[in-house]
């Protein structure tokens, strides 16, 4: 490790992840000293596990969705820490810590505001064909609506510089936040890079993750948000 990671804060939204959380946080904390877990009203002992592993824990007293959790993490990093970089990392173990590290380095070197991960430039393990199709459709949709030249749009692994945290506000509480975040990049005048990563679909992440049909919810949330913005 050449550079200190003291200026990096990792944000991990979590909801009932007790099964895998410990392993994920152990590997994460072995590399990144500052990890903030946002517990989205879990009914299991996820917050206790996170605390024991040495992460800062923020608790949503009621479940508000992953988008809301991420924004809570962003607000915390913005107002309560002086971190320059904020990593978003899923709690189900589908991301690699070394990928996150590589993205922080890439962002540092490039001077851009946001580093996005792409599983379609990198590799995936155990992804179903249907999920691949739904994700590709999401990519197509986002490339058109957000006017970004990206190859993966619903990847939970990202690195944001403080400049990006200051100008992005996620208002869509559920799963449409990934598109919402991307749509905010161009209007805010932020620069971005895309880094190839590996995504691993485990038994756990497949069972826990979103059903493909939930893409309808994302489209609905985005459409109503758009109608409201234009009215």
């Amino acid at each position: 490790m050449q550079q200190s990671l003291d200026d990096v804060c990792v944000v991990v939204p979590m909801f009932n992840e007790a099964n895998v959380l410990e392993g994920v946080l152990e590997t994460l904390l072995a590399v990144f000293p500052h990890v903030v877990c946002i517990d989205d009203g879990s009914s299991d002992n996820s917050p206790e596990i996170a605390r024991r592993c040495g992460a800062t824990v923020l608790k949503h007293v009621v479940n508000r969705g992953q988008g809301a959790s991420l924004q809570t993490g962003f607000d915390y990093v913005r107002t309560m820490t002086d971190a320059e970089y904020c990593v978003t990392f899923d709690s189900d173990g589908q991301h690699g810590v070394l990928d996150a590290l590589a993205m922080v380095d890439a962002l540092r070197e490039s001077g851009a505001d946001i580093a996005l991960a792409s599983r379609f430039r990198g590799t995936t393990e155990g992804m179903s064909r249907m999920r691949g199709l739904v994700l590709k459709a999401g990519v197509w949709f986002t490339r058109r609506s957000a006017k970004l030249d990206v190859t993966d749009t619903h990847n939970g692994l990202r690195v944001l510089r403080r400049t990006a945290l200051n100008s992005i506000r996620l208002r869509l509480d559920r799963m449409a936040h990934a598109s919402e975040l991307l749509s905010a990049i161009v209007p805010a005048g932020l620069s971005y890079i895309e880094v190839p990563v590996r995504v691993e679909y485990s038994e756990h992440s497949r069972a826990k993750g979103q059903a493909n049909i939930a893409a309808i919810n994302i489209l609905f949330d985005l459409a109503t948000a758009k109608l409201r913005a234009s009215a």
Partner: protein, 120 residues
């Protein structure tokens, strides 16, 4: 037929109402006006049942009961969209409240003191 114009206008109105956030007080005022109108119409049509037939013929509907049904459908659409708006507004407020509590009561990790691999 006049009724078609009226109904489509009503449905479109409900759709428009759903897609915009009314200014402070506007939504509430609209709901109260509609509610009051509904009460008056209901009371009058109970007192004088033949009036619904008369109104139905006026707009080109065969029977008064059909006109009442159409009116109910449009009123239902408005009620649902108004409720939906109110709920999404409340959900936004709930998120902000939840976020504020989460940040204020953050359980901070102590600085890690154990030996880490030396920085080259």
């Amino acid at each position: 037929m006049i009724i078609k114009v009226l109904l489509i206008a009503g449905i479109a109105g409900a759709g428009l109402f759903a897609s915009r956030i009314p200014g402070a007080g506007t939504g509430l005022a609209l709901r109260r006006l509609l509610g009051a109108g509904l009460v008056i119409v209901a009371a009058v049509s109970v007192a004088f049942p033949e009036i619904t037939n008369w109104a139905a013929n006026l707009v080109g509907v065969g029977q008064g009961s059909n006109l009442v049904l159409y009116g109910l459908v449009v009123a239902f659409l408005f009620a649902v969209t108004a409720l939906y708006q109110r709920i999404s507004h409340l959900e936004g407020q709930l998120t902000q409240l939840t976020r504020a509590i989460a940040i204020l009561s953050a359980d901070k990790a102590e600085p890690r003191t154990e030996l880490r691999e030396p920085v080259q």
